[in-house]
């Protein structure tokens, strides 16, 4: 699995951080998503998929 995020589209909701905090974080200055791990380990796949599906702006893309 390979993750990309579109920081321009992100509205800083933090939902991805709630779902997968090993993989996503928010920038302190504006709440925009930061990708901590673009190739996460399989145990995080499920959370990452939920984060991508639940992102309100579609800013998270997955290549599996």
């Amino acid at each position: 699995m390979k993750i990309t995020v579109d920081q321009d589209a992100c509205c800083g909701s933090g939902l991805c951080v709630i779902r997968a905090d090993r993989v996503f974080d928010q920038r302190e200055e504006d709440g925009v998503v930061m990708l901590l791990d673009e190739a996460p380990s399989p145990e995080d796949f499920e959370d990452v998929r939920a984060a991508a599906a639940g992102c309100p702006t579609g800013a998270i893309r997955l290549a599996e």
Binding site: C11, G12, V17, I18, V32, A50, P56, T57
Partner: protein, 407 residues
């Protein structure tokens, strides 16, 4: 499609009772992506009730939030057409597009998941204080007065650095601002002016005596004149946060409690297993039966929604609550299931670039309230039957007039 033979129904729809959604939601969804309804203003708008259509539309920049445009539908029966048609001077730029993103990024940093988690102990403290006082007064109690209104007000006031003693004023101004049919234009104008003056005054105080709060921080950013926030934008932001910070959350606390206690096994499940708190909060948000009017958009280009043409210059109303009951997304949508895998993907907080900025805070408040109830008041019950519960009529935000509980 509007069928010439069938009259256009009035909106908002009637409900069998406050916890039971209007029949029309399912009917509209089954018919086609866009049906038509008549607002209290008399204007007709297209109504969207399908999950995918709602998400797509809210994320598309060709659907404008600005209903002060010529030809846009008006929702309320006041002359100004209601909340969404009103413009506040000097704030057009932060409504949408790059200006909105600039504004949003200033605010988002105050509402990150980490910052909100850091607030949780204070929210808990405030909730405990209010519940102590409620228990001391004795059963029965009106949850709106004792907790649902004061808690979100205290929380947003502490965050902003505003005095929570003024909660009655905020509550009144907010309700008037959200009128559909309840208040006259004169009352709207007077309340708008008073709320604006109050927010300006508050900002001036922060300017003179800055503290460790969000408004002081925003005032300093505005004063630095680096183009990120004008003074007018700041004042309107202060007002918007005071309004949004309490109105919707207090309504949701009541609706969640009513949903759980009306089918008490939902509540008992949380009492028995606190692990269910998050899922129960999400499922309550998803099943919100009294969601208010929804979100209007003005269409700036000819487009298609779910295969149906919608012409430029028309207005659409997005029903978030109806979308949350779309069986294509949530199988058996009318079944309450705290373990539902995707229940947090509801659109109660919107979608797209305008997704609710305060949703993390709202979620923290709802979870704290539910945990505290389950721990301290396992015997909590509704005093009235669902049929006896009364909704707040005539305002765009859906809520209950009061909610009496016993324990």
């Amino acid at each position: 499609m509007t069928d010439e033979a069938t009259p256009i129904p009035d909106y908002p729809f009637d409900q069998p009772h406050v916890l039971e959604p209007p029949r029309e939601w399912a009917e509209s969804r089954a018919k086609c992506p866009v049906t038509h309804v008549r607002m209290p203003s008399g204007d007709v708008v297209g109504l969207l009730t399908g999950y995918d259509e709602v998400r797509t539309l809210l994320a598309d920049p060709r659907f404008s939030r600005d209903l002060s445009r010529k030809g846009a539908a008006r929702l309320s029966n006041t002359e100004d057409g209601g909340l969404f048609s009103r413009t506040t001077e000097g704030t057009a730029d932060i409504q949408e597009g790059p200006g909105h993103q600039r504004w949003r990024r200033l605010l988002s940093r105050a509402f990150t998941v980490k910052k909100m988690e850091a607030w949780r102990p204070r929210v808990q403290e405030m909730a405990d204080e209010l519940i102590d006082a409620m228990i001391a007064k004795g059963s029965p109690a009106d949850l709106r007065e004792e907790l649902a209104l004061p808690l979100p007000v205290r929380v947003i006031c502490a965050l902003l650095g505003a005095p929570s003693e003024d909660q009655d004023k905020f509550a009144y101004w907010s309700e008037v601002a959200l009128t559909l049919t309840k208040y006259s234009q004169e009352e709207v104008d007077a309340a708008q002016q008073a709320f604006h003056d109050y927010a300006s005054e508050l900002v001036e105080q922060k300017r003179a005596h800055p503290g460790d709060d969000l408004l002081s921080e925003l005032t300093q950013i505005s004063d630095s004149q680096d183009g990120r926030l004008s003074n007018e934008e700041l004042v309107s932001t202060a007002r918007g946060l005071l309004l949004a910070g309490h109105e919707t959350t207090s309504n949701m606390i009541l609706k969640m409690t009513a949903l759980l206690l009306s089918e008490r096994e939902r509540y008992e499940a949380v009492v028995a297993d606190p692990e269910l708190v998050t899922g129960t909060v999400e499922e309550s948000l998803r099943m919100d039966p009294l969601a208010g009017v929804g979100i209007p958009r003005f269409i700036t280009e000819d487009i298609e929604v779910g295969g149906e043409p919608v012409s430029s210059g028309s207005s659409l109303l997005v029903s978030l609550a109806a979308a949350n009951r779309d069986a294509r997304k949530f199988p058996e949508p009318d079944r309450f299931d705290p373990r539902r895998e995707n229940n947090s993907q509801h659109v109660t907080f919107g979608a797209g670039p305008h997704f609710c900025v305060g949703q993390t805070l709202a979620r923290v408040e709802l979870k704290v309230v539910l945990e505290t109830f389950a721990r301290r008041l396992p015997g909590l019950r509704l005093r009235d039957t669902p049929e006896q519960l009364r909704q707040r009529e005539g305002v765009a935000a859906g809520g209950l007039q009061e909610l009496w509980v016993t324990w």
